[in-house]
Symmetry: C2
Subunit: 220 residues, 2 copies
DNA sequence: GCCGCATTTCAACAAGCGTTGAAAAATAAA
DNA sequence: TTTATTTTTCAACGCTTGTTGAAATGCGGC
């Protein structure tokens, strides 16, 4: 077998690129910074990935499939364990958010940088339209469909605006700016994803019900 | 009195810088791009503002005072017209958001770029800690105090997490990525700030009440 | 007219950028 | 071992970057 021995330097380049791109954005990072922090030569990034933009895309593709299937699995699991009416709004939001705690689950701290990078492109008027659809349109459609079923009679327009609010709250959480740490005087911690989701899930579920009509009543 | 003749080229540089920084971020824009789009020489930006970072800061300072006083005025107005119990959560959120529709009010389209730029730094792990506190800490503290009064018995931790969710939803709205336009198939429009706030205000208010307790204290 | 000052352009600098072809080193196959 | 292939480094390229000093332009006061 002459196949991929999976040299560790290639992965180190991806790890460092992930971290630096998440912190400073695509244009705020140079290939030399990435190479230096990874302890390799500049040309090695080009050898493995091609152009700088190709490296950027490679960072996204490395974890995309794993992330999407984890969240889709969570949705299907909560649908399977629900009655004929389908899962509640809380259960759907929970399935949407909880799989994102995979930094703790997998023990790989790179996930945190990856999610911060997702936040960066989702909030960017330049990168958003270029990358978000390709990465997440399928996933979002599945969750929107589940929410539509859990909120009978709701107008599509209202559901999308509510999803937009959810997406924004999530994005700022993933960005890990540490702003809430300072504002709250240390009472809240950006790095505490569990606390963030514990608060976000009931917050968002109540918002959906308020805007999309109370017909979708709260259930245990 | 040879006072400021306020050459229009200086303002044009700020306008273009505002627009391009909002779209591509600080590192994604060159001084030459700004100068070209403004129809001036590269060196003119340095003459008026100094270093590139000084120009970046000048863009923020141009509208900061106006924006903050508009929002603080709205808060004070809703407090003045309330009874002894103070304004409701909805009224406070409304005062927090509605003044941001000043692109329509003032007729200055630059406001939209400015707010997108605010969204950019608020979501950035690099720029956020550097700039958000200086610009908005006073304003946020005033609104937090009003919310604390409107939610008697709520734990500070819960209030800050709810504010974080509000800030995230607002940030993604200001970023103007157009993602909701595509997702909703045109039913929702990123540029329609009024529709965004019409949905965000009840959404967020319901979330605050759910998480921070409906009237008295929250469960253990 | 000329003068003084603010504004704007011109021209160029050193430094850093992404990228590439060829050499060197490491690894696998024989 | 020798050979073939992959991985990594070296060295350099053409180009762009932010910045600056000096020259040119505009303009009100004399």
């Amino acid at each position: 077998m002459t196949k991929t021995r999976q040299a560790p330097k290639r992965e180190r380049i991806l790890d460092v690129a992930e971290e630096l791109f998440a912190l400073r954005g695509y244009d705020g990072v140079t290939l030399r910074q990435i190479a230096n922090n990874a302890g390799v030569d500049v040309a090695l990034a080009s050898y493995h990935f091609g152009k700088k933009l190709d490296l950027f895309n490679a960072v996204f593709e490395r974890r995309a499939a794993h992330l999407n299937s984890a969240r889709l699995d969570a949705l299907e699991a909560c649908q399977a364990s629900a009655d004929a009416a389908g899962p509640s709004v809380e259960q759907i939001i929970e399935a949407f958010l909880r799989p994102l705690e995979l930094a703790q689950e997998t023990g790989d701290p790179g996930w945190q940088n990856y999610l911060a990078l997702i936040a960066y492109i989702n909030n960017s008027p330049y990168w958003g339209p270029r990358m978000m659809s390709k990465l997440f349109d399928g996933l979002v459609s599945a969750f929107i469909a589940a929410l539509r079923k859990a909120l009978p009679g709701a107008r599509d327009e209202d559901i999308y605006w509510c999803y937009h609010n959810l997406s924004g709250a999530l994005t700022l959480t993933l960005a890990q700016t540490g702003r809430i740490d300072k504002l709250s005087g240390g009472k809240c911690l950006s790095a505490d994803f569990e606390a963030a989701y514990d608060h976000m899930i009931p917050f968002v579920a109540a918002g959906f019900r308020e805007v999309c009509g109370r017909s979708g009543k709260k259930r245990a």
